[in-house]
Amino acid sequence: MRKVLRALLIIHTAILATACGTKTSGAGDDSVFKVALLTPGPISDQAWNSSAYRGLERIRDSLGAEISHIQTKTPAEFEENFRQYGAKGFDLVIGHGFEFQDAAQRVGPEYPNTVYVTTGGTGTGNNIAALSFAFDEPSYLAGIAAATVSQSGIMAVLGGTELPPVKASFAAFEAGAQSVRPDIKVLTAFIGNWDDAAAGKEQALALLSRRADVIFQNADAAGLGAFQAVRENGKSFVIGANADQNAVAPEVTLGSVVIDLPHAFLLVAREVQEGSFRPRVITYDTKSDVVRWVPNPGLTVIRPHVQAHIESLRAQFVDGSFKLPTAATP
């Protein structure tokens, strides 16, 4: 019995150490605007999660909010953490990903004074909103740029897991590529998680061995492996996703399909702080300049007439004269 107790003590210590990343300076003062962020992965991934954390920091710096962040691991924790923040009287809780929407639906009604926002998804409620990013629009533009750079006529998309927004983005990338080069082939692969950078590298190498010479990766921390593979290969290009990843491996990165999460987060947080928040699906597209294709300024491989074509399409996204056939991004 004593041994079991001792062992449980070890586990307890271990869990405490695991939860160290949490920064909550406690509830208490109700007048302070309090904002929390739940990320599905580590905020050091230089992509989806680190960009969200920068958004949280911007809310702190611009709106004087008290902030808290938790990295969740399993869906079971989504609800628990949503509930915790509701009980602590947070004003805004952001679940960073499509996968948080069910938990928001269940917990939202229990804490009517807290606004729950999920990035991705379509679920809304009295105090629940979803941020929807037209990530497919810049993905389409990236596809055009990539197709004109590819020598082999084979490209690849590499994802963490097949979340609907990732799938939509990959489909748009392929459509964009085929709009300028109908015979181009796009291979698809998924790593199965968002952390295993070694697996990301191996999967990228396998795609390169199939003669793919542009890889559009959307795998967060695991995607860093794809950058490494392409850099070692030296004859191919990689495209970043979610954050501006052009600096990760500047000599081989064609560009990044960026979501300006700090900007999007600040907009919704300001609404909540001012009391003008309305529950809805808030769509951020090319027009709101939250999503954009950012070519790597250090590379000159995208030819000027291609740049011009991309720029004109971007303008058409903005004025609404061009819409993607698969415009509904979940």
Partner: protein
């Protein structure tokens, strides 16, 4: 017809690369288990090795990184040894706790040292060495002998362990402890000391596994990048029937299964990708079922004092 010849070489290279970190971790765990201790903290030793390698390489270059990775893995195992041997805690629970602890601590340290921006891809890495002569052998020469340092260490580790375990007194003592500790002690073996050494060796190999991931493969660290390799390594030991050669072979089989999975996904076959991702694990289950037969586990394995 798809160009299978062209893909064979990349496949073999990928198999060996994927098998190397698994091989280190599994052979280390094998030694620990042969002493009758199951260390589920192996995953923790690997992630500690990853972080140690990153920090060491940043300070003193890639070789310092390898040493730091080994030391970090050994340190995690030392804590486990204290709990299991000195405090007599349950091995399963203590091991699980060490894995959780190491995953948490490395993540926290990483953010403290490198900030939320991460370490990027600028860690100095171990370049492959082509062994003169051997690397130009026809066929497998270039695959086997144009590798970074850790792979060659692994080549040497297998025969060295085989010799040590079966041809030395210390190896015999270790196996005796794992099979019948009381008898071994009656014969004058100092079992606590041997077990502590076996646990620390296992952790050091876990650390080397992590260092290989960071310095010979990815070139950076990210939180949770061990991604379950410690648990796969424990399964590899079972699959290898607790023998040195069996474990090395099982690691290779696993490496090949993963490499095949990567290649399958790159084939543009219209099949759900989950099928390919499950392939290595399905293969394990099938192999385990086929290899059922005489029990090979050390009799003292996991037994509490």
């Amino acid at each position: 017809m798809i160009e299978f010849g062209v893909l064979l070489l990349p496949f073999l290279e990928a198999s060996l690369r994927t098998a190397t970190p698994l091989g280190f971790a599994a052979l280390g765990e094998l030694v620990t288990e042969r002493a009758g201790v199951i260390n589920l903290g192996l995953e923790g030793a690997i992630i500690a090795g990853c972080f140690g390698a990153l920090a060491g390489a940043g300070l003193g270059g890639p070789y310092a990184g390898v040493l730091a990775g080994i030391a970090a893995g050994a340190a995690v195992a030392m804590v486990f040894a204290v709990f299991v041997l000195a405090l007599r805690a349950d091995q399963i629970i203590a091991g699980t706790a060490m894995t959780l602890l190491a995953l948490g601590i490395t993540g926290t340290l990483y953010r403290l040292v490198y900030g939320a921006g991460g370490a990027a891809l600028d860690t100095p890495t171990l370049a492959p060495w082509a062994l003169p002569g051997l690397s130009s052998l026809p066929g497998l020469g270039p695959v086997l002998f144009t590798q970074p340092l850790p792979t060659y260490v692994l080549y040497l580790l297998v025969p060295a362990l085989l010799w040590w375990m079966h041809r030395t007194g210390a190896g015999l003592a270790l196996r005796a402890i794992g099979e019948h500790r009381a008898a071994a002690e009656a014969a004058g073996v100092r079992s606590q000391r041997s077990r502590a050494a076996a646990i620390i060796f296992g952790g050091a190999m876990g650390g080397l596994s992590g260092a290989t991931l960071v310095l010979a493969q990815v070139g950076t660290f990210n939180e949770g990048m061990s991604a379950g390799r410690g648990f796969i390594a424990i399964a590899i030991v079972v699959l290898g029937r607790w023998s040195v050669l069996g474990t090395a072979l099982a690691a290779l089989v696993f490496g090949a299964a993963f490499a095949l999975q990567y290649l399958f996904q790159a084939m543009d076959w219209a099949l759900p990708y989950q099928l390919f991702l499950a392939f290595p694990y399905v293969l394990t289950l099938v192999l385990l079922a086929l290899l059922r037969g005489r029990a090979a586990a050390p009799l003292e394995l996991g037994r509490q004092d």
